[in-house]
C-alpha cells in the first residue's frame, strides 16, 4: 500500500508547553484518515504541520515526498485545505470565489463538476457573508478541491452544521474519496469518525493514544459493556464482580463496562439466580467511540 503521508516522532512546542509530542503515523493513499481528540488536544496543530504552515520543533514529516515547510509551493499545487474558521472576502460572490481560486492553479479545474456535486447553482450570485454556515462550508470545500488535489485536509468540516447538513457533508466527502482523493479529517464528533473514517488516530494532550480502524477500536475491552434492567439489584453487587471496570445505574437501568462480557454476564446471572432477582432487557453491547473517548479522557484525569 502506497503511503502519502509519513510522520515520525514529531513534536511541536508553544513556549514550554507541548502541543504535540512524539507523534508518529502514516496515511495510505485513498483512505479517509481521521484525527480525533478533545478540544485543545493538538489536532489542528498536527494538521497545520502536515500542510506546511507550522514547523515542527523535532521529528520528520513527509507529504507526497515533500518536506512541507520547505517545499510549500510545490506541495500546495497538489493538496487542498479547508480551515476551521478562515473566511474569504465577505463581499465576494460564490461564482467569483470559484473562478478566483481556479486561477491560482495551472491544471484544469473541476469547477463545473463541483457546482453540480455540491448543488451550488442556486447560490452562485450570493455574497459569501450572506450564506448560512452549511453553505459556507460547502463553498470552502469546493475551493479546497477545485484543482483535484491528491490529498484533502479538512479541519472540523461539520462543525456547527445541523445533523442533516452533516450527513450531506459526509456523503460529499465519500464522493470525493471515490474520485481517488486521500482525505485527512479532524473532528470531535465520534459518530463522524465512526461512519466516515477508514482509520482513526486518537490524540490526547498531543500524544497518540490509539490508531486503528473504528471497528477495531470498538473491539477494545474498555468499550465493551452490558446493559440490563433490574429494580432489586444494587450497584455495589455489580462492582464487586471480578473483571468489572465500571458500573453505572440510573433508575434501574444498569450499564456495566467489563473486560470479558461473557464472564461478567455469567456472574450477574449467577447472583440473580441465587437471590431470585428478576432481570430484563439484557444486552451485550459493543460500546461506541464516545465511550472510548470518555474513557481516555478519564484516564487523563486520574493521572
Amino acid at each position: 500500500m502506497e503511503l502519502v503521508i509519513k510522520v515520525e516522532g514529531v513534536s511541536k512546542k508553544y513556549g514550554s508547553m507541548f502541543a504535540v509530542k512524539g507523534l508518529s503515523f502514516a496515511v495510505k493513499k485513498g483512505e479517509i484518515f481521521g484525527i480525533i481528540g478533545p478540544n485543545g488536544a493538538g489536532k489542528t496543530t498536527t494538521l497545520e504541520m502536515l500542510e506546511g504552515i507550522l514547523k515542527p520543533n523535532s521529528g520528520t514529516i513527509d507529504v507526497l515526498g515533500y518536506v512541507p515547510t520547505k517545499q510549500l509551493r510545490a506541495l500546495n499545487k497538489r493538496i487542498g485545505v479547508q480551515f476551521q474558521s478562515t473566511s474569504i472576502q465577505k463581499k465576494m460572490k460564490v461564482k467569483e470565489a470559484l473562478q478566483l481560486f481556479a486561477s491560482f492553479y495551472d491544471g484544469p479545474s473541476q469547477k463545473d463538476h463541483l457546482i453540480e456535486l455540491l448543488g451550488l447553482h442556486e447560490k452562485l450570485n450570493v455574497n459569501f457573508e450572506d450564506l448560512s454556515g452549511g453553505w459556507k462550508q460547502r463553498v470552502t470545500l469546493a475551493l479546497a478541491t477545485i484543482h483535484q488535489p491528491e490529498i484533502l485536509f479538512l479541519d472540523e468540516p461539520s462543525m456547527g452544521l445541523d445533523p442533516h447538513a452533516r450527513r450531506e457533508m459526509w456523503s460529499l466527502i465519500e464522493r470525493l474519496r471515490k474520485q481517488g482523493c486521500t482525505i485527512v479529517i479532524t473532528t470531535h464528533y465520534m459518530e463522524e469518525a465512526e461512519k466516515l473514517c477508514d482509520r482513526v488516530a486518537m490524540i490526547y494532550h498531543g500524544e497518540l493514544k490509539a490508531l486503528d480502524t473504528p471497528q477495531q477500536l470498538l473491539n477494545r475491552s474498555v468499550s465493551k459493556n452490558l446493559t440490563f434492567e433490574s429494580h432489586q439489584l444494587k450497584i455495589k453487587d455489580i462492582e464487586t464482580i471480578p473483571g468489572v471496570i465500571r458500573a453505572e445505574e440510573n433508575d434501574g437501568l444498569f450499564h456495566v463496562f467489563c473486560k470479558n462480557q461473557q464472564e461478567t454476564a455469567y456472574h450477574i446471572f449467577r447472583i440473580c439466580h441465587e437471590r431470585e432477582i428478576f432481570l430484563s432487557n439484557f444486552y451485550f453491547e459493543k460500546g461506541t467511540l464516545d465511550d472510548l473517548f470518555v474513557h481516555y479522557l478519564e484516564e487523563e484525569v486520574v493521572q
Binding site: 504552515i53 500546495n76 480551515f83 474558521s85 473566511s87 467569483e96 475551493l143
Partner: protein, 246 residues
Amino acid sequence: MNAVVQLAILETKMFFRDRLSVFWTFLFPVVMIWLFGSMFVGNEMNGLTFAEQFVPSWIGVNIVTTSFFTLGTVLAGYRETGVLRRYHSTPLQPWKILAAHTVQGTVIFFFSAVLLMVFGMWMYGLSLPEYIGSTLLALVISILAFFPFALFLTSLAKNTQAAAAISSLFLNVMLFLSGATFPIAFMPEALQFVAKLLPLYYVINLLRGTWNEAPISSYGVEVGILLGISVVSIILASRFFRWSGK
C-alpha cells in the same frame, strides 16, 4: 499572471460594493475642496489660483488615502480574518497579491483623481495640467512610492484597528504638515523642517509643479527621493509580507 488579473478585477468590484469606502474615497475629497474653496477662492498665492494650488495637492492626498485605507487597512483586515491564510495554502505567491492590490488601488485612485480634476474645472475654472505627460509620470512615481510604503507600515499592525490607527496618524500628520491644506510658508521653521521629512511633501511639490510651472525634469530632487522611498518600501513590503496576524 491570470491570477493577478482575476484578483485585481475582483478586488475592484468588491470595493465598489462597499458604499462607505466609495464615499470616503470619492466624495470626501470633493467636499473638502468645496469647503476650502468657499474660504480661499479669489486669494492668489505664489501666483497660483485656489484650484491650481488645491486640486493637485488633494490628488496627492488621495494617493495617501488610497494607499493607507483602500490597500493597507483592507489587507490588514484580510490578514486578521484569514483571507491571506487561505491564500497561503494555494500556490499563489505574495508578490502577486501585492501586485493585484496595487493595480486595484491605481484604478480606484485614477477615478478619484479624474473626479477631483473635473470638479475643479467645473467649479473653479481649473485648466488641464500644463505638462500633462509630466503630471502623469509624477503620479506613477508617487503611487510607486506610496503604495508599498503603506502596505509595509500597515503590515506591522496586529489587527485591523491597529492598521486603521497607523493609517489615520500618517494621514493626519501629512494632511496638515505637507502643504496640502496649509501653505508651508506660514509655518514656523521647525515645522517646515518636519514637513520635508514627510513623503507627501515631495508628491505635492511634484504635482503642483508639473501641473502649473515646469516639466518633471526640473524636479530631480523630488523624483529621486520618491524613487528611493519606492525601492526601499518594495523590498520591505515583500520581504516582511505576513500571511496571518499571529
